[in-house]
């Protein structure tokens, strides 16, 4: 019985080792696929995170729109390319940005229209028409669009408020707004008074800044918080490694494939009459199936070891699991 059992296991291992396709599928393919997905999932964790490719077209060329583009370019999550090429080229640049999104070379394009700064300033203090910023996006990247829209909101608020409170165009806008307020027939005297107080206070603040009294103080609206980011991994003091995740996943997947192959192999043996010949010997079905299960377990163990060792050697990932692979 033992002789037969050993011979059956040896036979399965021999058949596996002479089968180039099986070797390729069990060892080379998981390493290749694991390496690819490991790279896609962030590699060894010391690389910069993937950024969203964003195009900007500034058709306004105002201080506010310039500030918005500058702020977007400074965002860590975005890889901004500014296509602005002067006021006259605005429409052509917008089309170029749209084509880039259509081709998939950019995920989002932000197009700031002419007179955006002026219109946004007016809308900031009063009930004027709000200008539109066009956000062109690839519909298969809706999450990225939402991220860019959120970042843009913060940047626009900061840029507009900064310009309104301390910028040159903002000062003129405050004076214009005061004049408009005084002439306005729509507002009652009771409503005009607080607004006029607000605008005069802003005007006074601007003059103090010019005299250096408020130097060093942040100007305009700013985000009232900052963030500290920390990657939390399964083990303490262990840096995230995309290869570790990908290889573990691939190994599990290919061990499952191996299991399927074992089942299919049994069916093929039956189809080819081999099962009949094996069963003609005085052996229990338990011996026949058990030997197949053991050989499959040995092969699965080999797949785990080879994949994890290759990961360790080639990609400098430390072995953190038990030797059995768990």
């Amino acid at each position: 019985m033992t002789t037969a059992f050993r011979a059956l296991v040896r036979k399965d291992l021999q058949l596996f080792l002479v089968d180039r396709r099986a070797l390729l599928m069990s060892f080379a393919v998981p390493i290749a696929v694991g390496s690819f997905f490991g790279y896609v999932l962030g590699g060894q964790g010391n690389q910069e995170r993937a950024k969203i490719p964003v195009l900007t077209v500034d058709q306004d060329q105002s201080a506010i729109s310039g500030e918005i583009v500058k702020k977007l370019s400074g965002e860590r999550a975005l890889e901004v390319k500014d296509l602005t090429g002067g006021k006259t080229a605005g429409a052509a640049r917008a089309e170029e940005a749209q084509m880039a999104v259509r081709k998939g070379t950019a995920t989002v394009a932000v197009i700031i229209p002419p007179n955006f700064g002026q219109d946004a300033g007016r809308a900031f203090f009063g009930p004027a028409q709000k200008p539109e910023i066009d956000i062109l996006f690839d519909p298969s990247h809706a999450a990225e669009r939402a991220m860019v829209a959120g970042i843009l909101t913060g940047d626009v608020m900061q840029a507009v408020s900064k310009e309104m409170f301390t910028g040159q165009s903002g000062r003129e806008m405050v004076k214009d707004s005061l004049a408009l307020l005084e002439r306005s027939q729509l507002l009652t005297a009771a409503d005009k008074q607080p607004l006029a107080d607000l605008l005069r206070s802003v005007d006074r603040w601007n003059r103090q800044v010019d005299q250096g009294a408020a130097a060093g103080i942040s100007r305009g609206l700013t985000m009232p918080y900052t963030t500290r980011e920390e990657a939390v991994t399964a083990r303490q003091n262990t840096r995230y490694n995309g290869y570790a995740h990908a290889f573990a996943g691939m190994v599990v997947q290919f061990v499952l494939f191996l299991g399927i192959d074992v089942g299919v192999g049994l069916l093929q043996q039956r189809q080819r009459g081999l099962w009949k010949r094996l069963r003609a010997a005085p052996l229990s079905r338990g011996t026949l199936i058990g030997s197949r299960a053991l050989s499959a377990a040995i092969l699965a163990f080999l797949v785990v070891q080879v994949n994890f060792l290759s990961r360790g050697w080639c990609l400098a990932c430390a072995w953190k699991a038990a030797w059995l692979g768990f």
Binding site: T3, A7, L8, Q14, R272, L274, K276, R277, L283
Partner: protein, 325 residues
């Protein structure tokens, strides 16, 4: 309870016995009460068309399929269960080429020897002998996938001989092989027969059965329809000597009733211009029959004698052709 009286009276017990084997798959009755026995050194032919129940019978004898009813005995001991040591007395040559193509012949035979607990020098000796018998010793280390169909058939046979079984079950072992390889397999089987092995040979090729078998069991629709020696089976036929006369157009005037009434003529039949006459003695009746035809103005183009064969026996017993069934 069945009492085996042969043991009490020291009657020689057949090495292989199958009693009233029955096997059904759903509504299909594959084997319906097949009984057979074989003595030491005897070669039994199990003859029948495709689907007659030969392979199922062999599978039950080999212990691969559990019969719905009936018993298989090896040297008087019932065969029971997968691990019955009696299975060592049986070598199975399946109809399919049950070999691992990716392995060498040597590796295949090492595995099949190990299934019967043969290893080391005993296994090497058995493998060497089996390869020698089938003439594949010089190809032992080649992968089976490089073998021709005939060589694979011979290796298929060798794999069943490693544990030196007393009974060899051969399930159509020459399917799909060229005449040369078929002859080589026959030579191998004759050697085994001369060594006293009991062979149970299933086939639907009559010439194989006629050449090899001491006794023939004809099986049809899962039942044994005849079990006798070749000579015994021929005795079942009303006519064993036939004279075939190919006639010209004049056969339209032929009076078969007058012909059949002639002394020594057992039967007369006209089929597509060929007259087939069953006669008691060819040497006596042939000139008399030809003279009778000439006297009545019939012209013949060709005359041949035909001997009844197993096909005729099968046709007589079952009413249908062996190959076309």
């Amino acid at each position: 309870m069945r009492i085996d009286v042969r043991r009490w009276y020291s009657v020689e017990i057949p090495i292989l016995e199958a009693d009233f084997l029955k096997k059904s798959y759903g509504n299909l009755v594959a084997v319906n009460g097949v009984s057979l026995d074989a003595g030491a050194g005897e070669t039994i032919g199990l003859l029948g068309p495709n689907g007659a129940g030969k392979t199922t019978t062999v599978s039950m004898i080999a212990g691969l399929v559990r019969p719905d009813s009936g018993t298989v005995r090896i040297e008087g001991r019932p065969l029971a269960g997968d691990t019955d040591p009696n299975k060592r007395r049986i070598g199975l040559v399946p109809q399919d080429l049950a070999l691992y193509d990716e392995l060498t012949a040597q590796a295949n035979l090492q595995l099949f020897a190990a299934l019967y607990d043969l290893e080391g020098s005993a296994a090497r000796r058995a493998i060497g002998d089996a390869l020698e018998l089938v003439g594949l010793r010089d190809r032992a280390h080649d992968r089976v996938k490089t073998y021709s169909g005939g060589m694979k058939r011979r290796l298929n046979l060798a794999a069943a001989l490693l544990h030196d079984p007393q009974i060899l079950l051969l399930d159509e072992p020459t399917v799909g092989v060229d005449p040369q390889s078929r002859n080589a397999i026959f030579d191998n089987l004759e050697v085994l027969k001369s060594r006293g092995k009991t062979l149970l040979y299933t086939t639907h090729y009559m010439e194989e059965a006629e050449r090899l078998c001491d006794r023939l069991i004809i099986i049809d629709h899962g039942k044994v329809v005849a079990d006798d020696t070749l000579a015994g089976l021929y005795r079942l036929l009303p006519v064993t000597n036939l004279l075939a006369v190919e006639l010209d157009d004049g056969h339209r005037e032929l009076r078969l009733d007058q012909l059949a009434a002639l002394p020594g003529v057992l039967s007369a039949k006209l089929d597509a211009g060929t007259l087939r006459v069953g006669v008691a003695d060819l040497a006596i009746e042939t000139p008399r029959l030809l003279a009778w035809l000439v006297e009545r103005g019939h012209v013949y183009r060709h005359v041949a004698s035909e001997r009844a064969d197993l096909e005729t026996v099968f046709l007589t017993l079952t009413g249908r052709s062996l190959r076309d069934s």
